[in-house]
Amino acid sequence: MNAQWMRQLGAVVSLEWKKSFFNRRSLWIYLLAALPMVIFVGHALETKFTRERLARQRTPQVTMERARTLREGMTPEQVEAILGQAPSRQTRGSRRNRIQSWNYSDGERQINVRFRNGELERWSSNESCNVSEDLHIFAGVYQFFFLRLMVFFGCVFVFLNLFRGEMLDKSLHYYFLAPIRREVVVAGKFIAGLIATTVIFGTSVALQLGALYWHFDGPKLEQYLSQGGGWQHSLAYVAITGLACLGYGSVFLTGGMLLKNPLIPAAVILVWESINGVLPAMLRKLSVIYYLKSLCPVEIPIDKGVPPFLAMLVMNVEPVAPWIAVLGLVVLSGVMVTLAARRSRTLEIQYGAE
C-alpha cells in the first residue's frame, strides 16, 4: 500500500458511497431494513396498551403476596375474601364440568384464577412484559428474518450492483480509463457498499432493540442492561450485522463479477445458507450464516412445538468459538474480494453485448 493508492481509494469511496445510499433503487433496502422495526414497534405498542388496561382494572386489594396464599380446592367465596371481587369473570363448560375463570390485576400483572366445579384448580400470574421471552422473540426474528432475508437481500442488491449497475448505465469505463489499479477500484467500491449496508442495517438493529427496550419497565431494563448482559447483547447484534454485510457483501461482489446472470447465484446461495444446518461439517464451514449463528448472543430454545423446517433454520449445530467465527468470516470475505480483484483485471467493457 502506498499513499497514492490510499488517496485513490478515498476518491473511489467518496464517488461511490452516495450511490449506495441515495440511489433511487436503494429505496428497497430501506424498506427491507424498516420491516422488522414494524414488528417490534407493534409489539411495544401492544404491551403498552395491555399495561394501561391492567392499570385501569387494578383493585387495591390485589397483591402478589395475597395471591400466594391461594390454595387448591378453595371455593369462590374464600378467594373473594382474599382478593375481592374479580373485575372480569367467565364461565364455560357443561353442567358436569363447569369452568370459571377470574381475572384480577395488581396493576402490572394479570392474575388468573381457575375453578373447576366450584373448586380452585390453579392460579397463575402473567406479566405484561416478559423480558426473557421477548429476548427470545428478538433472537428468533433476528436470525430467521433479519440476517437470512433482510440483510441477505440488501447485500444482494447493493453488492451485485456495484459493477453491474454501472455496466447497465454504461459508465464503468470511466473507472477503467483512469490511472488507477482496478484492484483499488474493486476495494473502494466494496468499502463504500460495506459502509452503506452496515449503516443502514446496523441502524435498523439499533432501532429494533430500542423499540424492544422501550416497553420494558425501567427497573427491569436497567437490570437486564447492567446484569443480564444487555449492553453486550445489543452491541453484539450490531456487530454481527456488520459482519453479515461483510460476509454476504463479499460473496455478492464476487458473484456479480464472475457470473453472467447473478440472480441464479443469489438463489443458490439462499438455499445453501438455509440447508446449512444439515450439511456435513466440512461444507457447513463454507457459509456465512454458520459463523453468524455462532456469534449470536441469545440462543433460541427449540422445543417440540417448533416445526422441523424452522428448527433446521435456527438450530446451530456445533457452534464455533467467537474468535474463530470472526476469523472465519474475515478469511471468507478476504478470499472473495481477492477473487473479485483478480477478475477485475481481465474484465472487458462490452456494454452492447449485455
Binding site: R7, D169, K170, F176, A178, P179, I180, R181
Partner: protein, 313 residues
C-alpha cells in the same frame, strides 16, 4: 525509438464467433493519425484494445512501452474519449471532470485547477456547473473531451469525435486537435468519413471488415481523394438559392438539387474549405437542418483505395 510508438503485434480480437479485428500489426509514430473505415470495420475495437478496455484474443498491444494490462501507468500518459455517450449519473460537467482527476490521485486543489483548465480549453466554462444530463449532444461531446485531456496526456485517443458536432463547433474542435498535437504527442482520431480527417492527419490507417487494409503517409491517400470528391447531403430551405451560392467556390465540383426539393447533393474536393464555407452560409439567411457526408461515396473511395492496395500485394 519504439518507446514513443503505439505497437500492435499480430493482434486479433473475436467477440465469441464475431470478428472484431484480425491479425493487426502496427507501429504508430507520434503525430496525428486517423483511423478510417466504414461502420463495423473495427475502429472502436482497435481503440478499445489500445486502452485495455478489451483484451486481445491473440497478440499484444503496448503504448509507449507500457502494456495495456497496466492501467495505473498506461493512463498516466494516455487519455481516451470513447464513443459511448453516457456519463455518471447526477454529475455536473465540472464534477465529472474533477472527480475523475481525484480518482487519478491528484490533490483536491490541483484537480480543481486542472479541471477548469480543461473545461476552458473546450469552451465549456459557462455550462460547467450545470448537470451533464441537460447538455446538448455537442456539449456532452466537449465535456467528454475535456475529461479525456484534463490530465494533459501524451497520447490522446478520440473515437469519432466529430460525429454530431455542428459545423461551427467542428472547426473549433479541429483547431483544438491541431493545438494538442504538438511535438512528440500522439493523437489518434477515428472517423468513418475520410474527407473529414485527411487534412489534419499526418498518417492514416484504413480499415475494412476487421483488417488494416492500408497504412501510411497521408499524401498517397490524398491524391486518391482529389480524384474522388466527397459527396455531402445538405437539408435546407430554398435549395436552388443555396446551390447558386455554393457554385461560387472552386472546390465545389458538382451540385444537384435533391429529388424531393428539400436538399442538395454537393461534391467537393476539400472538406475543410467546405465546412468553413458552410459556417459563413449558416450564419446568413438560409435555414440549414443537416449537413451529412453520404456514405456511399465514402465506400467507393475505400473500394478504390483498398482495391489499389490489394492489387499491389
Amino acid at each position: 525509438m519504439s518507446d514513443s510508438r503505439i505497437v500492435f503485434e499480430n493482434v486479433s480480437k473475436f467477440y465469441g464467433e464475431v470478428l472484431g479485428v484480425n491479425r493487426v500489426s502496427l507501429s504508430i509514430p507520434p503525430g496525428i493519425t486517423s483511423l478510417v473505415g466504414p461502420n463495423g470495420s473495427g475502429k472502436t475495437t482497435l481503440m478499445n484494445l489500445m486502452t485495455g478496455l478489451l483484451r486481445p484474443t491473440r497478440g499484444s498491444v503496448s503504448v509507449c512501452g507500457v502494456p495495456t494490462s497496466d492501467p495505473e501507468n498506461l493512463f498516466k500518459l494516455m487519455g481516451y474519449c470513447t464513443q459511448f455517450d453516457s456519463y455518471p449519473k447526477g454529475f455536473t460537467g465540472y464534477d465529472f471532470v474533477h472527480s475523475f482527476l481525484r480518482l487519478a490521485g491528484y490533490e483536491a486543489r490541483e484537480a480543481e485547477r486542472l479541471a477548469w483548465a480543461a473545461i476552458e480549453r473546450v469552451g465549456m466554462q459557462d455550462a460547467a456547473k450545470r448537470k451533464v444530463a441537460g447538455y446538448s449532444k455537442g456539449m456532452r461531446q466537449r465535456i467528454k473531451l475535456a475529461q479525456a485531456v484534463s490530465h494533459d496526456p501524451r497520447v490522446l485517443i478520440l473515437d469519432e469525435p466529430l460525429n454530431g458536432l455542428d459545423p461551427l463547433v467542428r472547426a473549433e474542435t479541429i483547431a483544438l486537435f491541431r493545438d494538442f498535437a504538438t511535438e512528440g504527442r500522439h493523437l489518434l482520431i477515428s472517423s468513418h468519413v475520410l474527407h473529414e480527417v485527411d487534412i489534419i492527419s499526418d498518417q492514416v490507417i484504413l480499415m475494412s471488415s476487421g483488417y488494416v487494409v492500408a497504412e501510411g503517409q497521408i499524401k498517397a491517400v490524398r491524391e486518391e481523394i482529389e480524384d474522388h470528391p466527397m459527396q455531402i447531403l445538405i437539408r435546407c430551405d430554398r435549395p436552388q438559392r443555396l446551390a447558386s451560392r455554393l457554385f461560387e467556390h472552386d472546390h465545389v465540383v458538382e451540385v444537384k438539387v435533391h429529388a424531393d426539393g428539400q436538399g442538395l447533393l454537393v461534391k467537393t474536393r476539400s472538406a475543410d474549405q467546405f465546412y468553413l464555407m458552410m459556417n459563413r452560409i449558416a450564419t446568413g439567411d438560409f435555414r440549414i437542418d443537416t449537413v451529412a457526408p453520404v456514405d456511399d461515396d465514402v465506400n467507393s473511395v475505400y473500394g478504390y483505395l483498398i482495391g489499389a492496395e490489394e492489387a499491389t500485394r
